[in-house]
């Protein structure tokens, strides 16, 4: 194991600036920094640490502690170095007898109101107050409170026989960190981090002078009851033990750290895994991580407890049929059993009777091997990934229009946007760190347009408000996006120069002719979309004329029968307005899982080899054929829904499913279950006995992201290293397990480290040509394409022209989905996710995140609830033509009348028993976002839910290990 060398992790005191060079002298050393930089930061640049408490480089300077005072030649007094900007020729002295005396006095006062329990404090050794007392040479505290009452301090619970009215008990309500007011120095770093970094404004300073206290929410709130989203920014900013991770309190101060990448959403935040030996003490966002710039959310920062949860299965298990209990066996026996079964199925039912599902949660290297297993060992192209059910329309739509299946920008780009359009995404819940970066830009004055059936938090929250929220009826995305384009073309707001230079002009004129038709006008589409025409017109004008316009979209765009068409409509909008190829603009799919982008890049789709090259291309096949020594099938294989259909039909018999839970996450649960039940060998390779494993014959235990080496590629195409911080508890990294299976089926694979797999990827895939681990060690991360044409990688795509040559406008006619409301099912159900839970919840349900969301609930508009007699918290039955389930209702006007909403994080609810088998026309991405339903009062779980739970219980039985 190789620990990463941390380049420069020092706290520079104040944020970095950009500007003209300014040269000054600090303690006799010359330093040149950008204009606007603070004296404190300038000193830090040359390694001079000016003592400080209230300053930290994640938030703007505040100038309250006065510990950082300096002397500046020609200036009176002793200015605070954190709030004093540099000037050309400035001469600064950071250590004079005058400032030293002031600092000593300041520290003496601070320490006089601070407990001296350093030895038993959880922050011992990791406390800036302690460091500063040392730095200023504080040796004595003269201020001692009178013993006979009237005690004026905040830290002693009792004053003689009396209770100390200034003392406040520790707030331990948050599951992950504590707030101990006794240790607080009221530097307000936490308050500012909550505002500036996270953008939630949950914290404030209550009271004045000596009464000043940090407070979460109102006087009656604790941290858990407040607006706090538990992102950890305050804990990170706290210089003392006031806000402290419970894990550090329990386990002690970490002694080493390894840089790695979060395994939750597609933002792909960089973290320092802080360790004691092989025990993880805490995850701390890494300030040089280019996706997150030192920020985190509750999932990545705190919700890693699943890695050591008692439910984790660490031994391989097999069984002959799914009604039997599991039998724990050796790896050798499990792999032998799986290989023999899979080969047997091929002999009996044909080469194409088995397949794989690669994982968007596993590394690029692991995914590459799983698709290689299908193509080079199973000898078919039956490989698919869960991106099928989330962003496959992005691949198709952006591929058709721009020529590449990926977002166009990096996350830093949001700092330069003037108008952000969010379509079918809920970033504060789904991509929280990106949302914080966007909110920061919005507070600086950028405008926001939200297109979503629900009033999500980003529409209006502390200090941000969308200029326009277009609450469209689910299923009418194409009509709305086309109406925006109609206004832009009709009112001649398009960027003709850009279109003439970058796009195919003939296709544009055809498109313009099409979109100008009055049937696309907001006035005509209003009746079907429900979006007021006037708002839509204003929104279109704002996007077209408001400066840098960027579009961020999510699964609310793709998971529709016209998902691919909407993606193309979005691409049209960006091309029309010239919002491509520079900072602050672009088309940005927000990817659901950590490695959706990577899984797609690695050739997981049945029709594409790595690098999005169709299997029909002989020259592409030959690259892999020469390397692998096999013949690759030139015909596309089965996609996930096709595999399940074929299984029900009797021609698909065996599946190796790595790190996905298709039974819970895929639509139309009954159909998925029927497909799985019809297979003769289902191999589940996962951390837990997930829902799919109820139908499995072989269970191969997986390793967590903490237990393996590899890379993840995030939504901005950034390839980030995943580093092993502990040995796999199950014995093998996941790529090793796939290799064992391949070898047992006759392959001659000899990988000994994932770096060799990356080298193979680079050798075969043009966009990855220059990527290797040595380069990632040196640079931290790189965005593909990274090859001889772009040796430094590509933060922004299509800079001088589109990847496909000319950008292509595509006609996007609205075609209503077949899923329609009617007398039996009069409401539309749409589904989504929540901040504290992730996807099927297999990980987050096994952490204390459940305090925020213990069960899925159904959001119902009070109007729809009233006519059905539904009250807050009532059990309701949710039924569609596909199935029915019961859950609790919550009444909210976030949804409009006629629309209900729920999440799919819990198997007890199984929201997907309701969703149907309708799908995107181009890619078969399921239409999760529109299902016609009825809602009515119920007494509790349905018969089906009870039966399901019983079957799951039965299926999870494990026989005691044989002696």
């Amino acid at each position: 194991m190789k620990d990463f060398v941390i380049p420069d992790d020092r706290d520079m005191g104040t944020p970095a600036k950009v500007g003209a060079a300014v040269t000054l002298s600090v303690d006799g050393f010359d330093v040149t920094v950008p204009e606007g930089t603070s004296v404190m930061r300038a000193a830090a640049e040359i390694g001079l640490k000016i003592p400080k408490l209230c300053a930290t480089d994640s938030v703007d300077a505040f100038g309250s502690c006065r510990l950082c005072v300096v002397e500046i030649e020609g200036r009176r007094g002793t200015p605070a170095s954190c709030t004093t900007p540099v000037m050309e020729g400035m001469v600064v002295r950071t250590q004079s007898s005058k400032v030293k005396k002031i600092r000593n006095g300041v520290m003496e006062l601070y320490i006089s109101d601070h407990p001296l329990d350093c030895l038993t404090c959880a922050a011992n050794g990791d406390c800036e107050l302690q460091d500063m007392a040392g730095a200023v040479g504080l040796r004595d505290v003269r201020y001692i409170a009178p013993q006979a009452g009237g005690l004026a301090n905040h830290f002693e619970p009792r004053s003689g026989a009396e209770a100390n009215p200034e003392w406040m008990a520790k707030d331990e309500s948050n599951p992950y960190f504590t707030y101990d007011p006794a240790k607080c120095i009221v530097c307000s770093r936490c308050v500012r981090a909550c505002e500036e970094v996270q953008g939630t404004f949950a914290l404030t300073i209550e009271g004045r002078g000596f009464d000043s206290r940090v407070s979460a929410g109102g006087p009656l709130d604790d941290f858990l009851g407040s607006d706090c989203v538990s992102c950890g920014a305050c804990v990170q900013a706290c210089p003392t033990g006031t806000l402290q991770e419970k894990s550090v309190i329990e386990l002690g101060t970490p002694e080493r750290s390894v840089i790695t990448t979060c395994a939750y959403c597609g933002v792909g935040c960089s973290f320092k895994a802080e360790m004691n030996g092989d025990e993880l003490v805490r995850m701390v966002p890494y300030k040089h991580g280019e996706a997150n710039r030192g920020h985190s959310c509750v999932k990545g920062r705190f919700a890693y407890g699943y890695a050591t949860h008692q439910d984790r299965i660490l031994k391989p298990m097999i069984r002959d049929s799914i009604d039997q209990p599991w039998k724990e066996v050796s790896w050798e026996e499990a792999i032998g059993f799986a290989a023999a079964r899979m080969r047997g199925l091929q002999e009996k039912y044909g080469r194409k009777s088995i397949g794989v599902i690669t994982s968007s949660r596993c590394t690029n290297e692991e995914t590459y091997l799983v698709q290689k297993l299908a193509r080079g060992v199973f000898m078919n192209n039956n490989t698919d990934t869960c991106a099928r059910v989330c962003h496959s329309p992005t691949g198709y739509g952006l591929g058709q229009t721009f020529g590449t299946s990926a977002g166009t920008q990096n996350f830093d780009s949001v700092q330069y946007t003037d108008v952000a359009v969010i379509i079918g995404a809920n970033p504060t819940d789904g991509h929280p760190v990106f949302a914080s970066r966007l909110k920061k830009r919005l507070r600086q004055g950028a405008k926001l347009i939200v297109i979503d059936p629900r009033r999500t938090d980003i529409v209006r929250s502390a200090h941000i408000e969308a200029s326009y929220h277009l609450p469209l009826r689910p299923g009418t995305n194409v009509a709305v996006v086309s109406a925006l384009a109609h206004v832009i073309v009709d009112e001649a707001l398009f960027d003709e120069t850009f279109i003439r230079e970058r796009c195919d002009w003939d296709e544009f004129t055809e498109y313009a002719e099409f979109i100008k038709d009055v049937r696309h006008s907001p006035e005509m589409t209003e009746i079907l979309t429900g979006v007021p025409a006037e708002d839509l017109r204003k929104a279109a004008r704002l996007y077209a004329t408001g400066g840098n316009g960027s579009i961020y979209y999510g699964l609310g765009v793709t998971e529709h029968s016209q998902g691919s068409t909407t993606v193309m409509a979005i691409a049209n909008l960006a091309m029309l307005t010239g919002n491509l190829g520079r900072e602050g603009v672009g088309v940005n799919p927000l990817r659901g899982q950590n490695n959706v982008q990577g899984a797609c890049d690695m050739g997981s789709f049945p029709h594409e080899l790595p690098g999005y090259r169709h299997v029909k291309g002989e020259e592409v096949r030959s690259i892999f054929e020469d390397l692998w020594g096999v013949k690759i099938d030139p015909e596309p294989g089965l996609r996930i829904p096709n595999m399940l259909d074929a299984a029900v039909g009797g021609s698909f018999k065996g599946l190796y499913c790595q790190g996905e839970d298709i039974l819970q996450s895929d639509p139309d649960t009954h159909h998925v279950a029927a497909g799985l039940a019809a297979m003769e060998c289902v191999i589940v390779h996962d951390l837990f006995l997930n829902e799919t494993a109820n139908y499995a014959h072989v269970f191969l235990p997986g390793s967590t992201f903490l237990e393996k080496n590899g890379t993840f590629t995030n939504a901005e195409r950034r390839i980030n290293r995943v580093r092993k911080v502990m040995q796999p508890k199950n014995g093998y990294e996941d790529w090793e397990v796939t290799q064992l299976l391949a070898k047992a089926m006759g392959a001659d694979w000899q990988y000994t480290h994932p770096t060799q797999i990356m080298d193979e990827i680079a050798a075969t895939t043009p966009g990855f040509a220059n990527v290797n681990y040595a380069m990632l060690e040196e640079r931290g991360s790189v965005q593909w394409p990274c090859n001889d044409a772009a040796p430094e990688g590509s933060p922004i795509m299509h800079v001088d022209g589109f990847v496909r040559g000319k950008g292509r406008f595509i006609v996007t006619e609205y075609i209503a989905t077949d899923e329609r409301t009617g007398p039996r099912f009069p409401l539309l159900l749409t589904t989504g996710r929540i901040l504290s839970q992730y996807n099927v919840g297999a990980q987050t349900r096994r952490t204390e995140n459940t305090v925020w969301h213990a069960e899925d609930v159904l959001e119902v508009h009070p109007h729809d609830a009233e006519v059905r007699g539904i009250k807050e918290g009532d059990w309701v039955k949710l039924a569609s033509r596909a199935g029915e389930t019961s859950l609790r209702a919550t009444l909210t006007d976030r949804v409009v009348p006629g629309v209900v909403y729920t999440t799919f994080h819990h198997p007890d609810t199984q929201a997907n028993v309701i969703t149907t088998d309708f799908s995107d026309w181009a890619t078969n991405c399921p239409e999760y976002k529109v299902t016609a339903v009825q809602v009515g009062l119920s007494n509790g779980p349905t018969e089906w839910q009870r039966e399901y739970n019983e079957q799951a219980q039965q299926s999870r039985r494990i026989l005691p290990a044989a002696e």
């Binding site: 055809e510 049945p606 026309w921």
Partner: protein, 67 residues
């Protein structure tokens, strides 16, 4: 796979290309089917069309002749 499903998927593909300008819509439907459907699914569709193509859109019928 059930005929209804196969038919619905094929008709859905055709419904997109039917809206596209030009005169090669059937060709483009055929290309899409060849690029994204495995040969077994295409054969099933062809077999179904040979038996009874009344539930297939005209564009799908034309495309089937090209695959």
């Amino acid at each position: 796979m059930s005929h209804e499903k196969l038919t619905r998927m094929a008709n859905q593909i055709a419904s997109f290309f039917a809206t596209q300008p030009g005169s090669d819509q059937a060709q483009r439907v055929a290309e899409h089917l060849k690029d994204f459907w495995g040969p077994e699914m295409r054969d099933e569709l062809k077999a179904h069309a040979a038996a009874d193509d009344s539930d297939l859109s005209p564009l799908v019928r034309d495309a089937i002749l090209l695959i």
